[in-house]
């Protein structure tokens, strides 16, 4: 079973982050993507009025690893230490549909042809959903960058958008250069923050407390939301199996009892067409809105925490430079060097604090807007689906009761 590439991915939901891709000077989207085995090839399409680019409109093929390379180089760039770097898109994960596909292949002998076809259709739909999700998440990453006043001008970002050759050579060089220094340090970020350098600034003290607590809460909520939507999917699958069995049952009923055959056929049709479609759709819309929202902001908050961490390190560096300056003054040696170093550290810390404040304030505003949009859309979708469900069910009841 080979999942055939999709020519044009239907862009239904792109609302995890809001108000992106509005600035006509740099418009980015992923109109097309191909899936071969497990490798996804994204077509990154750019339309720009900026003179820094060679052409006004162009497309390049990119792999997931290229996105990671871009993210990592941005994180490692010192100049961006005071910015919230948009979280890297997660690796495309076809594990779940792949496992189901495997199970389907094993169980093929025990199913009727109809059941098998139906389950296969379901699987294709699931592949498509995973696919749509991964395209969306990669697209949002690029759009976050393009709408950021500083990051959109990054040289590597430009290369990513424009360079029409394979990026894998650059990727390898980058790994050798940076060696993931910052990334390894960030792992123990929480401890440094908590163990705590004394915070002089109220704003940052509050942000620190808030972000640490919020992160753990949103992580928990994301996990629970995922479990909930997985249960919905299980029920949708149960309805498929039910309808297949009802089909066989209705075939068995003799023609003497036309009524029950009619009933069962109706019930079975109803289940297959309506409930599954709607229940299944509820599962994936709910997932996209709620779960993806939570998941995305969990990662975004991690990125904000990383910013706090970098600032805390800068503060620590500054305090250390103070101590070194005092020591130098005592000893009477290398005082001007120590003074220079201290001045630099202070400058770095101040720049970080200033840009950090701006970033965090914008972040909060962005978060609130995104939550609002998604919660509203989710509630509207739930109402819409429930109404559809009801109409279908009531129609069915009328037909059955009439007989």
């Amino acid at each position: 079973f080979q999942f055939i590439g999709i020519e044009h991915v239907v862009k239904t939901l792109r609302s995890v982050s809001v108000d992106l891709n509005n600035d006509a000077s740099l418009l980015i989207d992923i109109p097309d993507a191909l899936c071969e085995r497990d490798k996804v090839k994204f077509t990154v399409h750019t339309k720009t009025t900026l003179s820094s680019f060679q052409k006004p409109e162009f497309s390049v093929p990119r792999q997931h690893e290229d996105f990671i390379w871009l993210h990592d180089t941005l994180v490692e760039t010192e100049d961006y230490a005071g910015l919230i770097i948009p979280p890297a898109p997660p690796k495309p994960d076809f594990e779940s549909p792949r496992e189901k596909m495997h199970k389907l292949g094993e169980g093929e002998a025990t199913m009727t042809k109809e059941e098998y076809t139906k389950m296969k259709q379901e699987l294709e739909a699931e592949y498509l959903a995973v696919f749509k999700k991964t395209v969306q998440v990669h697209e949002v990453f690029l759009q976050r960058l393009s709408s950021h006043p500083v990051l959109s001008k990054d040289r590597n970002f430009q290369i990513f958008l424009e360079y029409d050759q394979d990026l894998s050579v650059r990727r390898k060089n980058a790994k050798e250069m940076f060696g993931g220094f910052f990334k390894n340090m960030v792992k123990s970020a929480d401890e440094v923050l908590i163990a705590g350098v004394k915070e002089v600034d109220d704003f940052f003290e509050q942000e620190k407390t808030f972000l640490l607590d919020y992160f753990s809460k949103i992580k928990e909520a994301t996990a629970k939301a995922e479990k909930m939507t997985r249960s919905h999917k299980n029920i949708a699958d149960d309805y498929i199996r039910l309808s297949a069995t009802l089909n066989s049952l209705s075939a068995e009923e003799s023609t003497n009892y036309y009524i029950i055959k009619f009933c069962l056929k109706l019930f079975q049709n109803f289940l297959r067409v309506c409930l599954k479609k709607v229940e299944g759709r509820v599962a994936s819309d709910e997932e996209l809105k709620l779960t993806e929202l939570l998941r995305y902001y969990m990662r975004d908050i991690q990125a904000a925490k990383d910013l706090l961490y970098r600032r805390a390190r800068a503060l620590a560096d500054y305090e250390n430079s103070n101590k070194a300056l005092d020591k130098a003054r005592l000893k009477g040696k290398d005082v001007s060097q120590a003074e220079e170093h201290q001045k630099r550290c202070l400058q770095k810390f101040d720049t970080l604090s200033e840009s950090g404040k701006k970033e965090l304030t914008n972040f909060k505003a962005r978060r609130v807007v995104a939550f609002r949009k998604n919660l509203v859309e989710m509630a509207e979708l739930e109402v819409k689906h429930a109404k559809n469900n009801m109409t279908l069910l009531q129609g069915c009841i009328e037909l059955l009761s009439g007989n």
Binding site: D213, Y214, H232, I235, T245, C263, F371, K387, I397
Partner: protein
């Protein structure tokens, strides 16, 4: 007459749905109604000798009964006892006797030991509902309704304790059926199935049995997943509430708390839907799997009856041969004895033929009645089940529409 299930829902007060069966009048038929409910389970006694007593209430206008509205207390073994009596009287002449609910050692032990937890409450409710359905199916059988044991069961305040309830459960019936089937297999002379109707029907019930079992398994899966969904929704609601508390933007914080409340209500909806899945769908299928065992049982009884008739005929044949041989010997006593035996055997053969014809006739009527009732039962249950789904959707609409302004209020 047909049986239909009605569902009562109470989303807040009762943890379980109440379901009852109701017999409705057939157009132009006898106006004849009877309604039985099983209620108020009460634990009697302590420890391993404890048992559950159920109140059996009959409301009826049928003249057979001394009153129109009366109740008695019965325990589970009483039901099994009733079934055993009916089975021994009617099964072998071709009547489809509804099987009694299954015994459950695990379930009952928990109750006896006194665990007042949710699973033992669910067990008692499940049993109560099953006992009610059992009685309703029994009384809606026109012959069984008139049986004195049934009348005594419903009316007498005191009932002699039923003993030997081992062979009486539907598992016991199935064992009996299997034994009969084995005997049938051992038959050296194949039954001459001049009546294709029986062969066709038997095959039909075999297929039906397989399909219903499969369907039952699928629905049990659905019930399980629905319960999981309920648990996961509740957990998500809690985590959403905590997230709302942590959120420092006031309006968003309030919206998240509202979301948590909505999800909590939806959790309750899922629980109620799981109950509907179970009682309207799953239990119906379970009942019919057991009923079809009873149907297969009567077909096998017919085989046994035929076999008995054939055996008598064979014996008669042998006796006649023996008589012929004895004609040439000088044993007048033996000859007379053989002649007497022949006479008796001739009577037996005639009776065997009559029995076989009678059981065949009864089965044809019974199967027709059974199938008609089954159609109506399924149709009614399907409609009720769909209505339960409609109700869930209606509530969902209400909850989400109430949440919408809260979400929009985030600024």
């Amino acid at each position: 007459m047909f049986v239909h299930l009605s569902a009562f829902y109470s989303y807040r007060s009762l943890p379980f749905c109440r379901f009852f069966l109701q017999i409705e009048e057939e157009e132009g038929g006898d106006s004849f109604d009877i309604h039985i409910s099983v209620s108020d389970p009460e634990k009697v006694g302590d420890g391993m000798n404890a048992y559950m007593a159920y109140k059996v209430t009959t409301k009826t206008s049928v003249a057979l009964f001394r009153q129109r509205d009366f109740s008695v207390k019965r325990r589970f073994s009483d039901f099994l006892g009733l079934h055993s009596k009916l089975a021994s009287k009617y099964l072998h002449i071709g009547y489809i006797v509804p099987p009694a609910p299954e015994k459950s050692i695990v379930g009952m032990t928990k109750v006896k030991v006194g665990k007042e937890d949710q699973s033992s409450n669910e067990f008692v409710e499940r049993r109560r509902s099953a006992l009610e359905r059992y009685l309703m199916r029994t009384v809606k059988h026109p012959i069984l309704l008139k049986d004195p044991d049934v009348l005594q069961f419903l009316e007498s305040s005191e009932l002699p304790r039923a003993v030997n309830t081992q062979a009486l459960s539907s598992a016991g019936i199935l064992r009996m059926v299997n034994k009969a089937a084995e005997a049938v297999n051992k038959m050296t002379i194949k039954m001459n199935e001049s009546d294709a109707w029986f062969e066709e029907k038997q095959q039909h019930f075999e297929n039906l049995d397989a399909q219903l079992r499969k369907l039952h398994a699928s629905v049990e899966c659905l019930v399980c997943h629905r319960k999981e969904l309920s648990v996961n929704t509740a957990q998500f609601a809690k985590s959403a509430a905590m997230l709302g508390n942590s959120e420092d933007h006031t309006a968003l914080s309030r919206a998240l708390s509202q979301l948590a409340e909505v999800e909590e209500k939806i959790d309750q909806l899922h629980q109620d839907q799981a109950n509907a899945d179970f009682y309207l769908f799953s239990e119906l299928l379970g009942d019919y799997v057991r009923l079809i065992s009873a149907v297969k049982g009567v077909f096998d009884q017919r085989m046994k009856t035929w076999q008995k008739w054939q055996d008598s005929q064979m014996l008669l044949q042998k006796k006649r041969e023996a008589e012929a041989k004895l004609q040439f010997t000088n044993k007048p006593d033996k000859l007379q004895q053989t002649k007497d035996e022949i006479k008796e055997l001739e009577g037996r053969v005639q009776q065997g033929e009559r029995d076989f014809e009678q059981i065949s006739k009864t089965i044809r009527k019974e199967v027709s009645r059974f199938e008609k009732d089954r159609v109506k039962d399924f149709k009614m249950s399907i409609v009720k089940y769909l209505e339960s789904l409609v109700q869930t959707q209606q509530q969902l609409i209400k909850y989400w529409e109430a949440f919408l302004p809260e979400a929009k209020a985030i600024s």
